[in-house]
Symmetry: C2
Subunit: 119 residues, 2 copies
Amino acid sequence: MTIAELSTDSAVLIDDETCRLFRAGAELAGQKWTAAVLLAMARGADRFSDIRGLVDGISDRVLSARLKELERQKLLARQVVPTVPVQVRYTLTAQGRELITILQPLVTWGARWKLHPSE
Amino acid sequence: MTIAELSTDSAVLIDDETCRLFRAGAELAGQKWTAAVLLAMARGADRFSDIRGLVDGISDRVLSARLKELERQKLLARQVVPTVPVQVRYTLTAQGRELITILQPLVTWGARWKLHPSE
DNA sequence: CGTCATGGTCACCAATAGTACGCGCTAATA
DNA sequence: TATTAGCGCGTACTATTGGTGACCATGACG
């Protein structure tokens, strides 16, 4: 079922699969810092401290949590390089890159209709 | 600046305009209940109690807050019909309908790469 | 021996978000 | 007189999130 079809179907409750998917994606990308982390990675940062350096103001704890969640959702892959001290590299998966592409129009949309700050 | 270009530009910090827009939109749509409310309206619900009836489980207070925020962001318009008791009608603006269209691919994306529950 | 870098974790606190539930207002209706 | 419809608001409570700063393990380096 597409959103276009929804407007013709008024019998179904809203908490159905479409809405769940809609929300799951929007919520994932909409969580604070998540977009910034994805963009940092799109710019080439692939190590914990690189990302932290690029994303101004994020704390270790939150970055750690975001990376963990994004890995769980398979938007990025975590691989340990056994140097000393150990290094950990994060890379975007196809799914992650796709999400960034998909959300691109959101930037255009946001630019066109200026959103009003401090929601 | 597009996200595609971002990967070639590593000098800029992440908290810039693009990221702000990206986040603003994603955060707006990602907030709990917001997507459900938008979908309910896309299905034709235009009154407070209609929406509440269609969105299973939402509380008055939250629905009220969402409608207010969405109105502030100009995603919907609120108009009072001076009947008695008074009626209030909410309608999607062009901007609001556009957002739904733009976020449509997110549903497809979410369906393709199953997101993992309970984030 | 002290200390640095890396990639985090943990405990604690504050702020934000969400829920439950009752109230208010008005005029028609039972 | 009591109730209902319609649209929320106010208060109180709980749950989730985010930030801070301390801490940890390892091996190299001075």
